[in-house]
Symmetry: C2
Subunit: 165 residues, 2 copies
Amino acid sequence: MHVAMGQTEAEATRCSIERTLAIVGEKWSLLVLREVFYGAERFDDIQRALGCSRDILSRRLSTLVEAGILTRANYRVPGERTRPAYGLTEQGKELFPVLLALMQWGDKYVAPPEGPSVLVRAKSDDRPVRVEVTTDGSHRTVSADEVTFAPGPGHAERLATSSGI
Amino acid sequence: MHVAMGQTEAEATRCSIERTLAIVGEKWSLLVLREVFYGAERFDDIQRALGCSRDILSRRLSTLVEAGILTRANYRVPGERTRPAYGLTEQGKELFPVLLALMQWGDKYVAPPEGPSVLVRAKSDDRPVRVEVTTDGSHRTVSADEVTFAPGPGHAERLATSSGI
């Protein structure tokens, strides 16, 4: 059943998926967000984690700040120059289900044979969290603040350690 | 809390989010999937809906078929040449929460003032479906086959109609 939606480019532009992708629908933007969800705050930490160019990262961070997804605040280590630190706004935190849905699909279909590289668990009871599609609005959704991220069996550091490198 | 994950590019490559983005983490690929979820099957229909170049669409469709997300089968209208028709594999259908999570965020933060452009409801009881993050694996997740997509208040066609164009 084709519901005849998005028949023109102008129409498609009105769709929430496309509007959202216009902000975060770019590989690097989603990976930048992943790092900030994991706890990275500083430009250098994010850049090291992603291995992308400083130029790309700088542009992506600015887009995400302008879109109200990330905050940028200055911090200063004594004796060093002032640097920006990044964090998620409430709006940004609500992208957690998008990243978790991507992770969940990837864990099932494209994870390394060892298993998932990252385990996401609820702080409250240490149980794994999952994305579900439901019509039952009665149960409260678990927020990004309420989970921990830990290396899983397919995590590179663990693999490197177990192979003695 | 930075859990020191994804410290190198090689490591990041192992993350399920990044592996998934390598397949679908490109604006056009996700929009192509959106159209197929909405029921489009033919190249021309998808191309008209997205307004992207035939070249880009052709490449994205091939990538999604090779990744096992879309099926490609031939169909033939009498008197016309054989053409490919696209559909979702089971693996493809399981990307539904990713698109729904993007839509949900977009509906909240970047929808037109009129409201969402698309309404997603369960076939069983016509209630709106939502993505939730949960630790409770007891309730069954609603699949893409079990929902309907209908134009919402912010849908372009409806807007055009109500403004008399």
